[in-house]
Symmetry: C2
Subunit: 346 residues, 2 copies
Amino acid sequence: VLARLVREKLESLLDESYGTLAALLERWRGRIRAAFPDVTARRGLYESIVRGRVTALLRSGRGAEAERELLVQVDAGQGQARAGSVVLVGAGPGDPGLLTLRALRALQEADVILHDRLVSEEILDLARRDAQRIPVGKEAGHHSVPQAAINELMAQHAQAGRRVVRMKGGDPFVFGRGGEELEYLRALGIAYEVVPGITAAAACGAYAGIPLTHRDHSQSLRLVTAHCDPSGEGLDWRALASGRQTLAFYMGVARLGTVAEKLTEHGRAASTPVAIVENGTRHDQRVTIARLADLAAIAELGGVRAPALLIVGEVAALGAQLHWFGATPRLWPADVDQPAAVDEAA
Amino acid sequence: VLARLVREKLESLLDESYGTLAALLERWRGRIRAAFPDVTARRGLYESIVRGRVTALLRSGRGAEAERELLVQVDAGQGQARAGSVVLVGAGPGDPGLLTLRALRALQEADVILHDRLVSEEILDLARRDAQRIPVGKEAGHHSVPQAAINELMAQHAQAGRRVVRMKGGDPFVFGRGGEELEYLRALGIAYEVVPGITAAAACGAYAGIPLTHRDHSQSLRLVTAHCDPSGEGLDWRALASGRQTLAFYMGVARLGTVAEKLTEHGRAASTPVAIVENGTRHDQRVTIARLADLAAIAELGGVRAPALLIVGEVAALGAQLHWFGATPRLWPADVDQPAAVDEAA
């Protein structure tokens, strides 16, 4: 039964661009044979095409350009000197099952993988065995390799003709500095693609049973970081404190108290439900459901550890009923059987 | 070369829970054989276990419960009467490559698929051929089947012992009413899982080369809908108009003018860059880059069609340089070679 299940999965594996690629190669088969009479050289060309720019163009919906690029490579006999490229990939929150199919493909085609330390081993193990893995940061908000050095590494490997995957936790364009990396690559004329990832808010919401928006409670979702701004002075707390919206804070555990203080200072009710999701989507996921007023105490006594996401808003209370993954959520304060946050949601 | 590439992909296919499942079945093999001496009945039990609640529990990180459930099924000889369940799945924006591995697995295990009309054929084709597909809405914001009827359909199929996938475009918890559906299932005691999806903002940002947050421009991202609120009166425009944040509007094309009017009225500069992404991630993706002041004209003259996402904020201008997928973005007004929005980003 297991074997049959596996077989079923195979059907869906092929990238939809492979059919197009096969047809394209079939069409120019004669010309390829003539230009590359040697079998080994021909294999090199095919290798270059399948893993290289032609396939990337097909995947980017540029069929005509792909065909032109193919012919350029064939005519120039450039089978060996393929152009390198960078794929900026979002790895999602940690569960390898939350990788996208495109992310998996990029990993499997990469020669070099520059990855944040937050990207899990299980995910990196999906790469080709002979791919070079280079950890470059960041760990809980601290960049272990400066951004300029990361940029140079990407460029250096791509310019040497390698397929580089730059893999970041979550989504590369949500607090990921992906934009800065693309600006650098663009300036050097290096080809790139971007594969979005499941960002922590969506992942933690789903796995904690907390709908981020809800017709009755919240018509807007706001993703906020405070990593680069310890005091929180750069944030518009007045706007953040306004009601009927859900806030997801990507931030250090140490700031839980500050967030609560600032939000209540600017008018959000101290009784607003909150949820802290530690190790979201991982088997050791822990969810704490409380109220805004409890955050300082939780930070001090709750043993909360990074990576953690803070969700603020009426929807947070729904996790007490709708949870389905991993351990049952911890209700805070722990000595009360049914805290008010849960009653409100009932 | 293509064949080898395909082979490489196979390695990564197996759900990490299969190893655990195989070990679990191995451990209780003797008891299973004793309880189900008949081969056909035994196969039915295995089928039920692999596709059913035991595997779902393993995937939810509940190993001990999975083992208990296995033994209950074995002892009760309930091989045939497996319990149904619902998986709430985010299908992402349209490109099948943006499905997560978990979403793909859920599709392939489903007996019944209740899907929004926005979910693409290419994605639905990844399901088992004999799965029943039921379109239930919604199409560009209009629910063709009332929510109560969708809820009843889910419950009815699950209670008949089927594995139901409820598939929504984007992410089920971001403007997807997923929370309401879970509340309904929870009340009936029907088991469920949630698989997050790539929401339109992340998808369109990635495929249009628009970083949603950027150290220099935006430290916060806000996802907003106006579908259920034509006048926009329910939105806190004052908070939305505050600077240094990126806004992503999930909304009808007809409201472009209203958004521009409200935002400028509440203080956001008329020169703020905006991007409209039509058919994001699809081969016919079209991106229009303009300024807030141009939105009314674009709505009237630009031929913009749903589904479209509106991105408001300084980062929108970066798409003019960082785009990589599909057609080159249209700069508005079209007769100006380099609109100011692009200059600002340079």
